[in-house]
Amino acid sequence: MSDQHEHLHHTHERFTPAPVTPDDAGSEALAEAFHSSFTIVKFAMLLLVVTFLCSGFFTVGPSEKAIILRFGEPVGEGQKVLLSSGRHWSFPYPVDEVVKIPITEIQQIKSTIGWYAVTPEQELSGNIPQPGASLTPGVDGYMISADRNIIHVRATLYYQVDHPIHYVFGFASAPHTVQNALNNALLFTAAHFKVDDILYNNRAGFQDAVLQRVTELADQEQLGISIQHCDVESTPPRQLKYNFDQVTTARENRNKVLYEAHTQENQVTNNAAAQAFTIANLAISARSRYIQSLEADAKAFSALLPNYKINPDLFEQQQLVQVMGNVLTNVQDKFFLPERLDGKPRELRLLLNREPPQPKTGAQM
């Protein structure tokens, strides 16, 4: 019995599960490996879940807005759909999708038609290829002006996105649509402007008309943008550069001639005005002098009259002698011709146009 009991006891010991009483080192190592692997897997799964959730964080920059699409549908209503700048969280893909839209920064787009074939690199280096005798359709862009001239025109449009939902979800490629509107605006405007107006006479008017047309198109097509401004550049065909330059030179010369004519006009009119002023002033002073002189004469007359009345003949003789004295002092040549004895008049011959000799000393008799 005791042996049997002992045997049972041994048997019992032999069938006890390994972890409790491992019977060899191999099984124990395997078990431990399983255990640790399972722990690693648990940890990895936890890490994955955490990473999955953390990947939902995203940042919206100061010049953009964001929209969360949950299962494809925007989260929120109206303007609340748009998330402002800052840190946000959404469920990671495929539950949520974040769409970012540039909004406050000014977008820029260039026209693609109207300019000759040149790459930006060539333009930057100034190494522009020589033009051919004609323009190749589809390669060289140009416009046809209202007077059926060929002209190169290009534009850069600056705009802001006002309605991001419309801009992003209304158009497969909104920038491309804006670009087409700009191209159309250039073409339409060039079609009713003459080449000289585009190039020289009404550059600002042309630019304004392009801006107006592109704004109208953006409104009609409901692009959800507001246009800031538009830079337009135009140039005559390179093949005709010399001819256009010649016209410019001729116009410059015309302006020079006109400028000179205006200068001369000013001189002539100013001189005339000065002369007129002098004439008027001379007349005024002559009038004053005349009146003053007459008044003085009248005064002298009144003063002399009493003396005259006393003895008119004597007065006259006195005055005459006094005057003759003055006159003879001033007169250059004086000839005294005594009467002929026979009472006949003396014959006197004068050489006319003779320069009277200057008196040498004093008066000559």
């Binding site: 006109l258 001189n271 002369q275 005024i284």
Partner: protein, 300 residues
């Protein structure tokens, strides 16, 4: 026990994900989906999460509902006044009826749709260009320019064809993108432009000279007028002076003989002022004094 629970949860999650992939589909904002059962369209789905039977029972075709850009090739047509005009138009089109679109274009191929649009645009453009003269495309007079009208005509034609064919496509906008002339014509235009420039050069020269002459002539006339006016004014001023002087006349009238004498004296003084030669005899005062001087005159 704990380990089993974890296995069950993981398994369940995997099964759910698999089931979701099989039985649901997402439609993104700006998209529209057409669901077909055994190839027949049974309805459309708007943006959001939707249920479906897995393939091959049901199939989902998604379409972009946004406005898409398309432009045709730069092609040549003849205008009503027989001018070869190259043109290219752009359109903004969108799928307005996804079921129709799917029915007309195999697997809802956008490329096939654009190919169809290209051919419609080509014929519509040809009709519109042929109906108008070049002066309808380019004209300085806004009233005669029919640019918008031509665009509208092309749009109407294409829109009509799309409706007739039930394509499920709508044209939102259409515009002319580019106009041009055949290469050989551009060199002829250059020659004409050269002649026009030459005319402008001579015009500028002539205009400048003529205008300058006009300006100078006007200036001379203006100057002459100014001086004439000033002289008239001077005459008026002198007249005023004389009128003023007349006031002193009564003074002289007191004794006209004296006045006359004084005037003569003054005139004498002024006339014999300088550079004069005076010849006189002994009858002229004060030389009449010489009479009393004995001379070699023989006495009678």
């Amino acid at each position: 026990m704990k380990r089993n629970l974890l296995i069950i949860v993981t398994g369940a999650v995997l099964v759910i994900i698999f089931a979701l992939l099989l039985f649901t589909f997402q439609v993104r904002q700006s998209e529209i989906a057409v669901v077909t059962t055994f190839g027949n369209p049974v309805g459309t789905a708007k943006p959001g999460l939707h249920l479906k039977w897995p393939w091959p029972i049901q199939q989902v075709y998604k379409f972009d509902e946004r406005i898409q850009n398309f432009q045709d090739r730069f092609s040549e047509n003849i205008t009503a006044d027989n001018i070869n005009l190259l043109s290219s138009v752009y359109i903004g089109w969108r799928i307005s009826n996804a079921e129709q679109f799917l029915r007309v274009f195999k697997d809802g191929s956008v490329t096939a749709a654009q190919s169809q649009l290209e051919s419609m645009l080509r014929s519509a453009k040809s009709i519109a260009v042929g109906r108008h003269q070049l002066s309808d495309f380019v004209n300085a007079d806004p009233k005669q320019l029919q640019f918008n009208q031509i665009e509208n005509e092309i749009k109407q034609t294409v829109q009509g064809q799309l409706q007739t064919n039930n394509c499920g496509i709508e044209i939102e906008f259409l515009g002319i993108k580019q106009l041009g002339l055949p290469e050989s014509v551009t060199s002829a235009v250059f020659d004409r432009m050269k002649s026009e420039r030459q005319v402008l050069i001579s015009h500028a020269q002539y205009e400048g000279e003529a205008e300058a002459q006009k300006i100078k002539a006007n200036a001379d006339r203006e100057a002459a007028e100014t001086i004439a006016n000033a002289e008239a004014e001077a005459k008026r001023i002198r007249g005023e002076g004389e009128a003023e002087a007349a006031k002193t006349l009564p003074v002289f009238q007191e004794n006209p003989e004296l006045a006359n004498f004084l005037l003569r004296i003054s005139a004498l003084q002024q006339s014999l002022n300088q550079r004069s030669t005076l010849i006189f005899d002994q009858r002229t005062p004060p030389f009449d004094l010489f009479r009393s001087i004995p001379t070699n005159t023989p006495s009678h």
